[in-house]
Structure formats: C-alpha cells, structure tokens
C-alpha cells in the first residue's frame, strides 16, 4: 500500500509538470498581452517596455518557464499582475469557499444521479424510466449558465426562497450546490442505469432472489455495490468537468471561490493566477482519481492495487 501510494505520488508529480508546461505554452502563445492590461491604454511605449522587463516577460520562453518552475519548487506561485498580492495567498483565501461548494455539489450530483439511475433501472421500460432519462438528457445538454440563471430566477428572484447571491450561510449554499448537482446528474444517472440493468441480470441476483430476499434488499445490498463500481471510476474523471462548472456557477451566484478568481483573471490576462488556479484544479483531479482508485477495492475485493 505504501509502495502503491509512492508510485502514484511520483506519477502525479509528472502529470502536474506536464499540465504546467502545456498551460504555460498556451498562455505564452496567446495573442492577448498582459502588459497592455497592466499599463492601460494611455501608457507610453517606454512604460510598457519597463513593465515588461520588470515582470521578466521579455525573456525567452524557456527562461520564463524555468523561473516559474523554480518558484513552484519552493511553493511560490508568483505574484498577481493586477491585484498586487501573492497568488498563493489569493488562492488560499478563496479555497475554503470553493471546497465547501465542491463537497456540496458532488454530494448533490451523486444523490440525484445515482437515485435517478437506480430508479430508472428498476422501473425499466415504464413511463417513469422514460421521464427520468428525458430529464437526464436535458440536464446533460443544457448550457451551464442557462441552468444557473434559470435556478437563480425561479428560486431566488420569483419564489424568494434563497438569497440571490453571496456567501456565508447554509441558505447561500443551497442554490449553487443544487445547480452543480443538476448539471452533473445526467451523466451519472445514465451510467448508473445501464450498469444497474446489467447487474440485475446477473446470476447472483437470481441467487439472492432464490434465497427469498425482498426486492429492496436485493437491490440495495446485492445489486448496488456491484453496479456502483464503474460509476466510482467515473467520479475521478468527472472532477475535471465539474471544475468547469464551478467557474460558471461561482460567477453567476457571486460565490467567492477560486472559480470566480479564475474567471476574473482570464478576462484580465493575469497569468500567474490562471496558472495557479489551473494547477490547483489539476491537483483536485489527480486527488479525485486517486480517491476513486482507493475506494474501488474497498467495495470489490477482486480489485488489487498495483
């Protein structure tokens, strides 16, 4: 187990290095010039050149990337171009809010998705199954900002059940978390449904029924642990898509997390923040996958970590 974690840790370092490189290249070749954003429209060419030299942006790519990595090795994500503070501090101050939203969002996503999937599989071919699958199709294909705005309009503006935006109380958390849950539930419900249908056909389900077990026990005790295995593997992969949703949802609901931070930074070409948030998101994805791989053998004894 220790060995396994060590090898996974080394792999993760390589993955993060690769991601930092690709992101850095993309930002380097981007036509938008961060210096122009800092200096403003009226700045003279001399001022612009000064700023560029100060930030080290006149150096060749390899030097810039080398410096960034050197900082990274010491836990230094650099300094924001526009906010005049350390990126590490900015991210750390916003991380708790984002983690809270992520946890609530993933919880909502799983409860909705798995619940719908199980119900659809058990009621397969009936009206309810078709309705559920239609719903999942809508949530999968609807744009994230449309769903966010719709939720905001219905539950905050019209019904006034929840605050329109902001952060602080549990009531503030409900709408953004539910929105993330609805957005992500479609994939999970479809996957859960087909996995569950396969498992319900298995010989050991027939054995369980032949023992005289009741329907709910057959489904929850015998079918669910087997059916959930492919879904767990997907949670790790899904974190990436989920992070994209976080950026949109945090912006719409005014949630002061790293998604909102990233959104602002992208608009202003604040490269150190974009790099920092990207790397933090990559860490989340790597950790999510590791977690999924660690949970799977707890459910299925046939899976061995190696």
């Amino acid at each position: 187990m220790g060995r396994y974690l060590l090898s996974r840790f080394l792999q993760s370092i390589l993955i993060l290095l690769g991601i930092s490189f690709v992101t850095f290249v993309l930002l380097y070749v981007l036509p938008a010039d961060p210096v122009r954003q800092i200096a403003g429209r009226s700045a003279t060419a001399e001022t612009v050149e000064n700023i560029r030299r100060q930030l080290g942006l006149d150096q060749p790519f390899i030097v810039q990337y080398g410096r960034y990595l050197a900082g990274l090795a010491q836990g230094d994500l650099g300094r924001s171009y526009l906010q005049k503070s350390e990126v590490t501090e900015l991210i750390l101050s916003r991380l708790p809010a984002s983690l809270q939203l992520m946890a609530a969002g993933i919880f909502a996503e799983l409860v909705l998705g798995l619940g719908m999937g199980i119900a659809a599989a058990v009621l397969r071919g009936r009206m309810a199954d078709q309705l559920l699958m239609m719903t999942s199709f809508v949530t999968v294909s609807a744009p994230q900002f449309v769903v966010s705005l719709l939720m905001l309009y219905i539950f905050a503006v019209r019904l006034g059940w929840f605050p329109i935006g902001g952060y602080g109380t549990a009531a503030h958390l409900v709408l953004p978390a539910l929105t993330l849950g609805i957005l992500g539930s479609g994939w999970y419900s479809r996957m859960m449904r087909s996995s569950m249908i396969d498992v319900l056909r298995a010989d050991y389900i027939r054995t369980a029924r032949a023992k005289g077990l009741g329907r709910s026990r057959v489904i929850l005790r015998h079918a669910l642990p087997n059916a959930i295995l492919p879904v767990i593997a997907m949670i790790g992969i899904d974190i990436g898509i989920f992070m994209g949703g976080i950026v949109v949802v945090e912006s719409v609901f005014g949630w002061p997390g790293i998604g909102q931070l990233a959104w602002q930074a992208i608009q202003r070409v604040d490269i150190p923040i974009i790099m920092g948030v990207t790397l933090i998101s990559a860490c989340a994805i790597v950790l999510g996958n590791l977690l999924a791989d660690l949970i799977a053998p707890m459910i299925d004894p046939r899976i061995r970590l190696k």
């Binding site: 010989d203 054995t207 005289g212």
Partner: protein, 594 residues
C-alpha cells in the same frame, strides 16, 4: 396425466409413500410475444415424493429450466408467466401465492442451485455474509447463532477449513468449492425441495463426481426431495429414482430410472439414449500405417509472466505448458484431455501462433519460430480452429456465405464468384443448404452454427483442424451428428484433428490417440486402446472413473473425497514444477513416473 409415485425398483432408499411434497398439475407457462401467447411448457403434471430424486431430462429448449423457475416463482416478469395449472407445495398452492408469501417459501421450503457456480455468488460479499443472510432471512436467530449454523453448513458440504471460508470471497474459491457453497446455502435451512438446475454441467468431470456424491449423501441425511434438471443421461442414471423426459415443453415419457434405461417407451427417449456417448462404444479402426507427420511439438514451454512491485518486474510465472512433446500424423485424431486450467487450450493457441512459446513447433514441415509474419499467415492455411461457442465465433452482422468465404478473401484466393461457389460447396459438404449462404448466424440452431464454423475452417483446405471443445456446448443428439460429420470429413479429406476436450466419453468415441494433460504437462499418452483399456497414471484413472455411466444398473461407489486446495501452476521466478519423465511401457504407451 398425473403420474403416481410408482414403487421404486432397487433404489437404495425407500421414499415415503405418504402425500407428495410437491404436486404439479397441468402446468402451462407461456411467453407473451407479438404474435400472442406462446407456450414454453405445456400441460405438465407430476408429483415429487418426500426424499425422492426426480430427474427432468431434456435438450435445450425442452422447457426443463422454465419449469424449475415456475416452481420457484422466479419466471422473468412480465413476459413469461404461468397461464394454467397449479403447483402445490404440500397443501399450499404456489401459483396463487402473493409475492410476499412466496418470498417466505423461497430459500426456506424450496431452495435452488444453479448451473454457473462461477457467477452465482455475489462477488463483493464474503461467503459467510451470504450464508448468514440466507439463514437470517427465514429464521429469527441472532448473528452469532446464524454464523455458527453457517459454519456447520460449510462443514456439511465437506469444505476444508469452514471457519476460514466464511471470511473468503467467491473469487478465492474454485468452481467446485463455489458449488459446494451454493449447496450449503440451499440446504442450511433444510428445505423440503431442492431444485438443482444442471448443478455439475459447468464443472470438471472429477469435480462433477464429487459434487454428485455430495448431493446424494446430503439427500440421504436430510431427506430433502430433489428435482434434478439435466441434459446428461449419465448424471440421470447415477442420481435419479425417477425420470421425466421433456421435449419442446411437453412431457414425452416418465418412468423409474431403471425401467426408462432398460425399456425406453417413446421414440424420442430411445433416440436420446442412443445419442449418449458411452465409454467403450468408439468405432474400431485398424492400425494406421506410419505416414507423414502433420505437426510435431517438442519441448514446448508457454509461460505467462505475472508482474508486481514498484517497477512492474516479473515476480511470478504461470506455467501453462511445460516441456510438452507430441506429434500429430496425417489422417489421425489426437485427443488432448485434461481439466480446466491444465494448459490444453494454450497448446492449441501456441500451434496457431497466438501465444509466444519456447521450444519447437513444426507444422507441415515448417518451423514456427523461424517464419516471418508472411510465412506465419501462410501457415494459417494449414491449421484452422473450431471453437466451443459457435455463436461467439461467428460475427452476428455477417452473412453465413461471407463468413465462410472470409478466409479465402483474407488470403486473396479466387474471384468473388469463385469464393461464392466455394462457400456454397462447403455449406453442402457440412450438411446445410446452399441458399443458407444469404442468412445470418442467429437464424440457425447451435448445431447448424457449429457446422458453419466447420465449413469456414475447411475453406482453406487445411491439413490440421484444432477442435477446442467444439462439441461441448451442443445437445447430445446434435453432438453425435457433428462428431459423425467430423469423422466423415476426416476420411474423405485426410484431415488430422487435434481434438481438445474434457469429456472422456466423447474422446473415447473419436480419437485414435490420446494425450492426458495435468498442470501443463503430459502425464500419459498412447493409443485409445492403451489409454482407455489399460490406463496407468492415477490421474488418467481418476478422469475415466469420474465419467458418469449412463446405466443405472452400474452405479459407482462414491469416489475418493478431495477437500484440499488444488495445486497451482503459478510459481515464483526461478522456481517451477517438477518435470515429469515419460517412459514407454510398451507399444508406444508413454506414462509419467508417479
């Protein structure tokens, strides 16, 4: 047409003559299709006496499994249901019982074991948890009591170390051990009726024998009545007091086992019994003159590395095939027998170049390891394979004619018209119609599909056909006809067969020479007469003795009980199994020292 419990002639126990434990009256089970209700079982009536073993025998599609599911109330809803008749357990009418009440019967008063022990246990629950669950579902006992009874039940099916088994998962047990767990689970609550649906069909023949012995012993101890669903007349003869023969959903004949085997009434029963392969019934063929060798293996080794550790180093090897040497002559059938995991299929795959090997494999005068990729492809013309499951071996989206002509296409032989003609000719050769070429595989029966596979194997005029369990999945009557076809083709075309099988009776029927494999090595090899008439190695003897004899007059005494672990072919790097040495005991009959 209710059949009374007739007096049993010569059964080793006296079943109760009181009221039957189970009565089936006019049972009709139908499936709802687009064309209306179609009956799967028609007007079936029988009774089951306390302590009796009743076999329901028949080929696939006869309705025997549907009958058992109907008794259990497990017919797949909503399409399949009982449309007429009654099933009475004692005085309870099961067909009128609501689901909740039926649930209390299932597992408690009627239990069932299934054909596939490998998949019939939940892979993510321990054996113990599954047993305890079965007990606590029906009896108000605490965890500790249920656990104690579960351990007792595992001991009763003679599993070694029952306490340790409780904590194990199904994948840690062999097929035979899993079927024992299933039996323990079914009998833990002492049901009145046990339905065993092909309980040993998926097991190796020696394991089959152990499980049958076990079932018989337990039945004697507990007095549970057994309905044994099987296609194997050998198993019927060994086990049953009374037999019902079914065909196309209806009862053809019912009689006490001895009477049925001695004087079968219905023509279908007679045909079924005639088709059963029997030991000692193989066609006698004269000594063949020594002719050219089609394939020769010498010192062939196949190992599969198992990796582990931080850098994926090879830590252990599966020794699938160890120093095997054999040769196949022109026009002969060499049978390779042994139980699952003994390496017989790996040898087949090595000959066609699908797994890397060490040692020398010489096919049609060419050394396999010295061939370039083009040469290897050309070699496919000389060696073709026919597999066990014809449905899986035929692409469901291709027409039969295209399937048969595909080898010609791959090797660039002939024009499109030539290939079409050849496919038609081959179809006729294997006993199908020429116009079948335009149909798809799903339109054919299992036996016809295997004929299509044989036609495809013949397309390139091979010298050697490797038949890997090619008749194992077929019903006996179909099996007999396919074996006849293989024999005819051999005589006509001078083909050689490497016939891989676990079924000793079939091997005895078709082979000229036999090689017996155990844990990757050949332990005995010789002519059919030598192997079956004078088996020398204890493993060969065990294989032959384990075959159920389709004759109720000659029931065998219980075999030697084996409860320990099976030896494994997995060894650490550097280590390996002890190599056996074959010595000639006369007339080319090779036997390993033992």
């Amino acid at each position: 047409m209710t059949v009374d419990a007739r007096p049993l002639s010569g059964a080793d126990k006296a079943p109760g003559t009181a009221a039957p434990v189970l009565t089936v009256e006019g049972l009709t089970v139908s499936v709802r299709t687009e064309g209306g209700l179609r009956p799967l079982v028609r007007d079936l009536s029988f009774t089951l006496a306390r302590g009796e073993v009743l076999a329901i025998a028949g080929e696939s599609g006869s309705g025997k499994s549907i009958t058992s599911l109907a008794i259990m109330g497990l017919l797949p809803p909503p399409a399949v249901r009982v449309t007429a008749g009654h099933i009475r357990l004692g005085s309870t009418d099961l067909t009128a019982l609501p689901e909740a009440a039926m649930r209390a019967v299932r597992g408690d008063r009627i239990a069932m074991i299934f054909q596939e022990p490998m998949t019939s246990l939940n892979p993510v629950m321990t054996v113990g948890a599954q047993l305890i669950e079965a007990i606590r579902t029906h009896e108000p006992v605490g965890r500790a009591d249920a656990r104690r009874r579960a351990v007792e039940a595992l001991g009763a099916v003679r599993l070694s170390e029952p306490v340790r088994r409780m904590g194990q998962y199904p994948h840690e047990l062999s097929g035979g051990m899993r079927q024992r767990v299933m039996i323990a689970m079914a009998l833990a609550l002492r049901p009145e009726v046990l339905i065993a649906d092909e309980p040993t069909t998926a097991l190796d023949v020696t394991v089959q024998r152990e499980v049958l012995d076990l079932l018989r012993d337990l039945q004697r101890e507990t007095g549970t009545a057994i309905i044994l669903i099987t296609h194997d007349m050998g198993v019927v003869a060994e086990m049953a007091d009374r037999v019902i023969v079914m065909k196309d959903g209806a009862m053809v004949e019912t009689a006490p086992t001895r009477d049925l085997f001695r004087t079968p009434g219905a023509p279908y029963t007679r045909a079924l019994l005639a088709a059963v392969p029997r030991m000692g019934a193989g066609a006698v063929r004269g000594e063949m003159p020594v002719v050219e060798t089609v394939a020769a293996l010498s010192d062939v080794v196949v190992r599969f590395p198992l990796r582990g550790g931080l850098f994926g180093r090879v830590t252990r090897n599966v020794h699938a095939v160890e120093h095997v040497g054999l040769e196949i002559r022109r026009g002969e059938t060499l049978a390779l027998v042994g139980e699952s995991g003994c390496g017989k299929s790996t040898i087949a795959r090595a000959i066609v170049g699908l797994v890397p090997h060490e040692g020398a494999i010489n096919v049609a005068g060419k050394e396999l390891r010295q061939l370039d990729p083009a040469g290897r492809r050309a070699l496919c013309r000389d060696v073709q394979m026919v597999f066990q499951d014809p449905m899986a071996a035929l692409d469901p989206r291709m027409r039969v004619g295209d399937l048969i002509a595909e080898p010609l296409l791959i090797h660039g032989i002939g024009s499109a018209a030539d290939r079409r003609d050849r496919a038609a000719e081959l179809l006729a050769r294997v006993g199908l119609e020429k116009d079948h070429a335009a149909r798809y595989p799903h339109e054919f029966s299992g036996g016809q599909r295997q004929r299509i596979c044989i036609a495809r194997a013949l397309a390139l005029n091979p010298r050697l056909i490797i038949a890997d369990e090619s008749v194992s999945a077929l019903d006996v009557s179909v099996q007999a006809r396919v074996l006849t076809l293989l024999r005819d083709l051999q005589e006509e075309l001078g083909l050689s067969y490497l016939f891989i099988s676990h079924d000793m009776a079939v091997v005895e029927n078709i082979s000229d020479r036999v090689a017996v494999m155990y844990l990757g090595q050949i332990v005995e090899m010789g002519s059919r007469a030598q192997i079956f008439g004078n088996p020398q190695h204890p493993y060969t003897c065990r294989l032959i003795e384990a075959v159920p004899v389709p004759d109720p007059e000659h029931r065998r005494p219980p075999g030697v009980r084996l409860t320990g672990e099976i030896p494994t072919p997995v060894h650490s790097v550097g280590a390996g199994p002890e190599r056996v040495r074959l010595t000639d005991v006369g007339g080319g009959h090779l036997v390993a020292a033992h």
